[in-house]
């Protein structure tokens, strides 16, 4: 393995510094406000910071591991997300083979195509081939009850959890003149902007939030939180232009697109959770809920970011 690029080392060092500061603040708050563990907000904050450590370490290892590391990490994220999504659908006995094929054939094949960088096939494999094959497998079992609903749910689960998520490692296949060997930093840029946007929207919402955007979907999302979070995350994106092939203005534009898509991703995924009467997709990440609770904004922004960069900057 070659040494990681100095820019990547700088990014990881920066993240480490942020996390150490966050942990120190969390510790101080806990000492002052919740010495007996009774303040739910502080406890949740500390749970989240602990989970952030794990996520940053895993993400850092994957980025240092390059294409193989990143592809494996996101393949696993897809698997965990799909497991959470399918758990909440109305599948029946007759869908068993279609579901097993989704987990054990379509998911690995999609990531294999990403790994060998076959753009022509990985960009249509799920929306064309999987979408036609799944109903065929399900129909072969002869159960017609709620057929359309069942098929639609499974297809959308694959779209969100596998197809969209796989566009994060796909960023490594882009060939940007003058940027060779640094593509992992595009992933770092995407993930940092999305996650900073989530955190900053939360912070601005807590500070100034008054006007609810969609009270029925997500009572905590406010106009003030969204505008403040989007603008500050866009500024963060512009400030990170040194690690990207973009000028600061271009970086700000792409960050804004990422933030807006991420925001609506969160809203859509909330609507699904409301429909199913649950608060979190899962329980695997303490303080955050499930994988989908953390991935929802990345999922919606990844394919759009990928295509914008591909058409704007890449020669492939």
């Amino acid at each position: 393995m070659t040494m990681p690029h100095p820019d990547l080392v700088a990014v990881l060092a920066g993240l480490l510094a942020v996390l150490i500061a966050a942990s120190a603040i969390g510790y101080a708050l806990q000492r002052r406000l919740s010495p007996d563990g009774s303040n739910a907000v502080v406890e949740n904050l500390n749970d989240r910071i602990r989970a952030w450590w794990i996520m940053v370490v895993l993400m850092g290892l994957a980025l240092i591991g390059g294409k193989t590391g990143v592809t494996l990490l996101f393949a696993f994220c897809s698997f965990a997300a799909l497991r959470e999504f399918i758990t909440l659908t109305n599948t029946r006995r007759a869908d068993h083979w279609a579901l097993a094929a989704g987990f054990f054939i379509m998911l690995p094949v999609q990531y294999y195509l990403i790994w060998i960088e076959w753009y022509g096939l990985y960009s249509i494999f799920i929306p064309v081939y999987a979408f036609l094959l799944m109903p065929i497998i399900a129909a072969a079992r002869g159960d017609t009850e709620h057929f359309l609903v069942r098929i639609a749910e499974v297809q959308w689960a694959l779209m969100i959890c596998v197809f969209c998520t796989s566009h994060v490692p796909a960023l490594l296949s882009l060939d940007i003149p003058g940027y060779q060997g640094r593509n992992v930093l595009l992933i770092a840029f995407l993930v940092i902007v999305v996650q900073m946007s989530d955190v900053l929207q939360y912070v601005w919402g807590k500070l100034l939030g008054r006007t609810k955007i969609a009270p029925r979907l997500s009572p905590s999302k406010t106009v003030e939180g969204f505008v403040g979070g989007a603008l500050s995350a866009t500024a963060v994106g512009a400030g990170l232009s040194w690690m990207t092939p973009f000028t600061p203005l271009q970086a700000a534009f792409l960050a804004l697109v990422i933030v807006v898509m991420g925001f609506f991703g969160g809203l859509v995924m909330s609507a699904i959770k409301r429909d199913r009467g649950i608060k979190d997709w899962g329980h695997l990440i303490a303080g955050h809920g499930g994988f989908l609770d953390r991935l929802d904004s990345v999922v919606f922004s990844a394919p759009i970011f990928f295509h914008l960069v591909r058409y704007g900057w890449s020669t492939t």
């Binding site: 698997f79 083979w97 097993a100 899962g282």
Partner: protein, 212 residues
């Protein structure tokens, strides 16, 4: 060597169960302590006791023996290895005509040796649409024979979707195992009353019990 193989197989089975089901134990009525117990659970899949075993803290895992039908678990060397050696199951003959030892005696023997038990009072896997089949009387006789051992209801949710009867490829879905409050046989309680109370305690842990 054999010991290492058994321990490795146990670890692999637990790892596989976690990979497929991300199973979570919810201790709603009792805490995961070392107290000797009889866990009684709903039975929808051959993986049922694997999931209970997986969510038990490691030190309790090896002191907790599932009670299972010998007709299934003695068929073939792999099943025999998993059932008898890895899980250390108390294997009972479910057919009264052929059996040579009384199941209740076998179970009380295991309790007296210090083990906790996992029993499935429905007697067989539930493949119907009903959430629970009527309990067989074994649980009552066991409670009568060892009245001081706590009976803990355990609801296993979603595993029937992971691996429906007749399928051999599991579909990964999130499962939960909920442990309810312990109950014990009261004096002068009839068999019918006791079994009805135990069934109700188990059903109350089903997630569908709280949503209409």
């Amino acid at each position: 060597m054999r010991e290492a193989g058994i321990s490795l197989a146990g670890t692999l089975i637990v790892f596989f169960a976690r990979f497929i089901t991300a199973v979570r134990g919810r201790w709603d009525g009792v805490a995961p302590t070392d107290e000797q117990r009889i866990y009684f659970a709903n039975h929808a899949s051959h993986g049922d006791f694997v999931l209970i075993w997986t969510v038990l803290p490691r030190r309790m895992r090896f002191a907790t023996r599932p009670v299972a039908g010998s007709d299934y678990w003695l068929k073939g060397s792999l099943r025999r290895f998993i059932g008898r050696d890895v899980f250390n199951a108390v294997l009972i003959d479910r057919d009264p005509a052929t059996r040579t030892s009384d199941p209740v005696v076998q179970m009380t023997g295991a309790l007296d040796a210090g083990s906790s038990l996992i029993v499935f009072p429905e007697g067989t896997r539930n493949t119907t649409d009903a959430r629970l089949l009527p309990f067989k009387s074994g649980l009552f006789h066991l409670a009568q024979a060892r009245p001081n051992v706590a009976l803990v209801p355990v609801w296993i949710d979603n595993l029937n979707r992971v691996m429906p009867k007749g399928e051999f490829v599991p579909v990964p879905l999130i499962c939960t195992v909920t442990f309810g409050a312990a109950l014990s046989l009261t004096e002068a309680e009839t068999k019918q009353d006791f079994l009805a109370r135990a069934e109700a305690a188990l059903l109350a842990l089903s997630p569908k019990a709280s949503t209409p």
